[in-house]
Symmetry: D2
Subunit: 438 residues, 4 copies
């Protein structure tokens, strides 16, 4: 920590919408009150360790490009240099949270024991940095996808020893997350899926996955961890198909294994669109079923079919998702984690700041727009009017189960019901929405 890695960038100030300073916030004012809470409390931003500090800037066709001197060798010394840089960055950016995988912060050893020892050493430093800066842990997670042992899955591996290994690894990271006061623990099933159904017993593998999750939930209660266990849906990549495909697939799974009251979802923008859904759809589906836990904020490219993990830059999308979140009462334990990577060409040291600043401003604008929509109430009034019929006797009785199919049919015939369509007013509502966004 002798030398500052981001020494050329000062703490990012809030300067307001008229500022021309690209290294200042124009909309994100952490302390500004919105609907009774500060922006910081609403958005609970977290920097992710992996993309921001662990990635070399490689892609499948090319070598790393980033200026990350600590990646030249895997050692505890370099892990310390990296952690210094990471906390310096987060402190200068002014985010309240971060997220990490075990293998992001400490090198894997030759045995799990050695890996755990490496990790424990780095967690010591992490506690000091957290205490020094006041930055907290949004969630921890175990890397169950990078090492060749997980090539055929972790919990869903055909080899039960891999299941056991993964379980032991999760146990350790869950306990560390607890020790660090983490708000959540995330299970990302990066390899829990299949490359080919030809060599896959789908029923057996999902049963394994169900048992794995139950084990984690049981242990959480045993150790008294009060954070939320989260699953992050993703449809595919690297596998052909992931079992936690989208919100609906995870919801089906949680119910099957009686976990729907124990586990919530970490919903990611780019995973939503890879699954063929809008981000708003996935969040609305999660909130409608009481499953929204947290957000991985980023964006995909509408023309590219892989996880581009770009920094979110659409105020329109931010407005729509924050509207869903505010209507559902906010994120609770969750937050906005930047599961996003700067482009491979973004090799200037301050590009990491530009990326986060832009995305935080976009989320702040989305929050402000969504709050205005709620305060104005006009959109909600139109929505209420659309469904007003269901407040009447017929609607209430039918929905409550007071009328049988026979009775409803009798009623249709006796009253000669012949309902006329009314306008859905979609274009008018799109125009109304645009008033808040642009």
């Amino acid at each position: 920590m002798s030398e500052s890695f981001f020494k050329d960038t000062a703490k990012i100030p809030f300067e307001g919408a008229d500022s021309n300073n690209p290294l200042a916030f124009r909309h994100y004012d952490a302390t500004q009150m919105v609907l009774g809470k500060s922006m910081a409390e609403h958005l609970r931003f977290a920097v992710c360790y992996w993309h921001s500090f662990n990635s070399p800037g490689a892609d499948i066709f090319g070598a790393g490009t980033y200026d990350r001197p600590w990646l030249t060798e895997k050692s505890l010394l370099q892990a310390r240099t990296k952690m210094s840089g990471a906390f310096e960055f987060m402190e200068k950016l002014g985010v309240p949270y971060f997220c990490f995988h075990d293998r992001d912060v400490a090198p894997e050893g030759d045995t799990l024991k050695e890996s755990n020892e490496n990790l424990d050493q780095m967690i010591g430093m992490m506690e000091e940095e957290m205490a020094r800066t006041g930055i907290k842990l949004l969630w921890g997670t175990a890397d169950l996808f990078n090492h060749p042992r997980f090539a055929a899955g972790a919990a869903t591996n055909p080899d039960p020893q891999v299941f056991a290994y993964a379980a032991a690894q999760v146990k350790h990271v869950l306990e560390i997350t607890h020790r660090l006061g983490g708000a959540n623990y995330v299970l990302w099933g990066g390899r829990e899926g299949y490359d080919s159904l030809l060599h896959t017993d789908l029923k057996r593998e999902t049963a394994q996955l169900g048992r794995f999750m139950q084990l984690v939930v049981e242990h959480k209660h045993k150790i008294g961890f009060t954070g939320t266990i989260l699953i992050e849906p993703k449809p595919h990549e690297p596998t052909k198909h992931q079992y936690d495909y989208d919100v609906a697939a995870v919801y089906a799974f949680l119910q099957k294994f009686d976990l729907q009251d124990e586990i919530k979802l970490n919903v990611e923008a780019n995973h939503a669109t890879l699954a063929g859904h809008s981000f708003q759809h996935e969040i609305a589906t999660a909130t409608a079923n009481g499953l929204l836990g947290s957000i991985d904020i980023n964006r995909g490219d509408p023309q590219n079919g892989w996880d581009t993990d770009q920094f979110a830059n659409s105020v329109e999308e931010a407005t729509l998702i924050l509207l869903e979140i505010l209507k559902a009462g906010g994120l609770g334990n969750g937050g906005f984690n930047f599961d996003a990577k700067i482009r491979r060409q973004s090799i200037a040291r301050d590009d990491l700041f530009h990326a986060h600043i832009g995305s935080m401003d976009v989320a702040a604008q989305g929050l402000l727009n969504a709050a205005r929509i709620i305060e104005d109430g006009h959109l909600q009034e139109l929505l209420d009017a659309r469904y007003a019929g269901w407040q009447g006797d017929l609607g209430e009785q039918m929905l409550a189960g007071d009328l049988s199919l026979q009775q409803i049919s009798d009623l249709v015939h006796s009253q000669n019901l012949n309902p006329e369509p009314v306008s859905g007013r979609q274009e008018m509502l799109e125009n109304l929405l645009n008033r808040y966004i642009y």
Copy 2:
């Protein structure tokens, strides 16, 4: 019925693989025994009324092209002509089943009462034709999507009167299906979804849909219908998003509304691929969860993002799905319904025969291949070997819940487990599969 519509085509014979007669089966021999059942019993083919007899051959950019004289006016007279043609076709093709919507077989009246009366008249003729030909009903269904009243959904409509109207309509068709001895009743939620979340209360609408399905199930039991209630997943089109998106989404929904033991799925090839899944995946997911009810057999175009509903022509795909079906014990009440339409240019009267013959032969080849794969047992042996570890103590105890996360972790450390990856053998298995297909 005075004149035969398909008079230029005789009953389609089975002539064997060496036949050059394009109007003969080369592989589908209804009576051939495969794994202890006849091909006809395995495949239970059904012709669908809508594409084959009700469609004019129009598309969104063009007028109808088909030679369907009964479509020139909507009348009971024309409905009778159509039904004669339909049963003539099915009889000549030699299929044991058919499927229909209420509005396919009788014109809609000015009121539901009038519509029901029209329908009842045509059902009388249908019973006669069924008796005459021995052709049975695979499933009936109500058209809850074509009329403007359903533009904003049937069960999920913002207007409860539309819900009631749809309920009354389903009641009637469910009772007709019962009367006709139908093996199943299908709910296709053609408009149960949304065009925009801006004017949609997703939580309320899905609650409406849940109640609707419960009503249908309750009525089924009340009237003593022993067939299966089926839901047909589809991701979108005509709506932006359908609530019954894919097998997983329907499974989540069924569990939420406690319907998982009452309703099964009618899985369609083209709907699977529109949802971003392989057809095999959707069937495997359904069978893994005990949800497979029936099949809508067709295919989409891998480059086109709408429901092209082409006739299935891939023996490779047929083999894979029949393998899943045979492994799950067959289709039970279900069947293979040709939810497929001939191309808009296919305007010769016998094109409808060519299309069905080709697809039936493809399914027959798939059945034969799948049966050989099962009889040989080699693929299953390789699969069993892959998961053999789970038959050992560690695997069984972990899956049974006999070991806690702590115990598993202790075991990993005490035994210093460090599992090595083994080859997934995907390419070898793909080669093995090809031996059966080509």
Copy 3:
């Protein structure tokens, strides 16, 4: 014209950004000067006849829903009622242009002669309406896709008589367009493609298409039409594959048939995204090759794989495309044609106004943003700096062809060139862009 169809809506005023009137423009002020031209001159909005007045609101699963009384029968009387409604709408909306297909404005007769006579009658009325209102024709086009004769293509039909018929039809509409003072003539190859390569001679069909286009160009010059001939790329739908897939495919085709100086492109947003490109990409590709003619403004749904033809509502996208257009010197003869349809549920008579107003405001905001980007010059400076090296000797000589591969190689070795990457600054630029948009 005795009664006003849109009688409940008055002429749409411009009221400014603070207006709460949903039937007023908030950003589109026709007379506002932007970079030396009025907004009206920049954007040259056109209403399209087909979606707005000819569509019943049907989709592939459902009957028409719109309130379009003139569609109940195909007659010249109804065509007149429709035209009155159309011009009333356009006048109240305040657009300077419209577009039409021959079959939109007059019913098809039993022979081409009769069709032409019907059309000629309606063109008479059209001239009167144009004179009365001052509304002009952006482009005319012939409907070569709706009638069954075109099921296998028009110019690319296997039957040369269909080619001839289409040629005769285009001749008449081209002459009408000329007579009406149309600014352009559009060729949309709605069926110029294939459903299956099995029955298609791709090489022959594209040769037919090339000859067809040459015929049109030759006739244009013969009759002295000075408007631009435009081709509208579309990748597929209704066919599996259209020959005019995207801008690049059309450019290849135009060069092959030596038409690149005679024909330009009418680029549509939704066709771009169906082809796997961003709208901006297609426009940038067209302008880079001197091929941009006009714009069909609409939007698709990023999750739906068919031509949803929704009204554009993204200021972000409007900004990006107007930036490309302004940098290329504007649209010239072209304009923004609303090839967009209101949703099937949008059945209130004024929904058509809401839809157009919203989209016109969005384009106006895009224009204002793009103009500010150009006036500020900052984005262009950054771009110029990025390529500055090409202004040096090495860059200029290499690009001019003054150095051979051998000479360049010698130079690399003698100077021991080893160029270092510099940051692409993508996130910083995205933030900069957002300053103008939000």
Copy 4:
């Protein structure tokens, strides 16, 4: 070469369709005569160096899994070990050709000079191995995408020094390819595209690319290389958009820069499908325009939007593309290069054999099927009949340009032409095709 790397696998024999030996060919018999040429001469198989010997089996989420001991360090010693293994593999597999990038066979040095020296040393060994085994070079190519200097493109880089560096690199590899008697030289523009239009001058960059290609063509003639220069289209990945998107985009480009007689295309299956086309479409488009040079044989996953580069296993697709190739007179200089990688889980040493054997057998079956289709002539007869009208006077005169639009129109009116549609017979043809495939 002291020790054999693939020592557990013997030379792969041809054993015929009834063989159960997974390490034998069942259909590919190199010497079998088909339409007057041996299978080997038709298919001209090539093993690719990069996927088969240079890839560690990593993906974007995980470390390498393959057993490739020579990848542990970058040295000439390891490069020699690798080359021994590569030629051992190719010899045992029995392929006549291979392909390579410069950086596949020799480590990059600190300067281009050093890189070239490394390469030259390995080319010496390559010549020996080629002489020893008789295996020839299908094509060579330069890696212009892996090193960070190419992050913003090679020929299209904003820095002209990178253009120069790439030119020097290509010069050397082109000369090596010439020296080795390579049949072709491939330009793959792995980074010739953009990540964002915000920082891209598309017009300038494509001009740079055009000049680059002209330089290569000029040098080819200068040194007397008689092989073909090939461009390999790809739509995106790693970039958002590649300039050589698909066959049509490359054709447009070649014409613009007057290269259409100098450069042909290397068409890849997975790149075709990523671009939204069928593989057959891309090949048919290339042959229709005289542009087909060679084939990169592999397959994508229809549900995954990235370049999965799997080994081809569909006889159906192989039949269709070989039909196009045979109809166009064969591949000439080109061949079938296996640009395919075994799955990350395929870590057994013989998996590489299984993958190639399966794909070679599939191509052989496709060749046999396509030859039978051609010999039977039935499909061609049906196609000829479909277009027969164009052999008549009207068709010939219109296509030859002997009739103007006016004359054609007059003829339509005077003869009162009103062509009737005929059936396109798609389903019948699909059935016919299946007779040959299954």
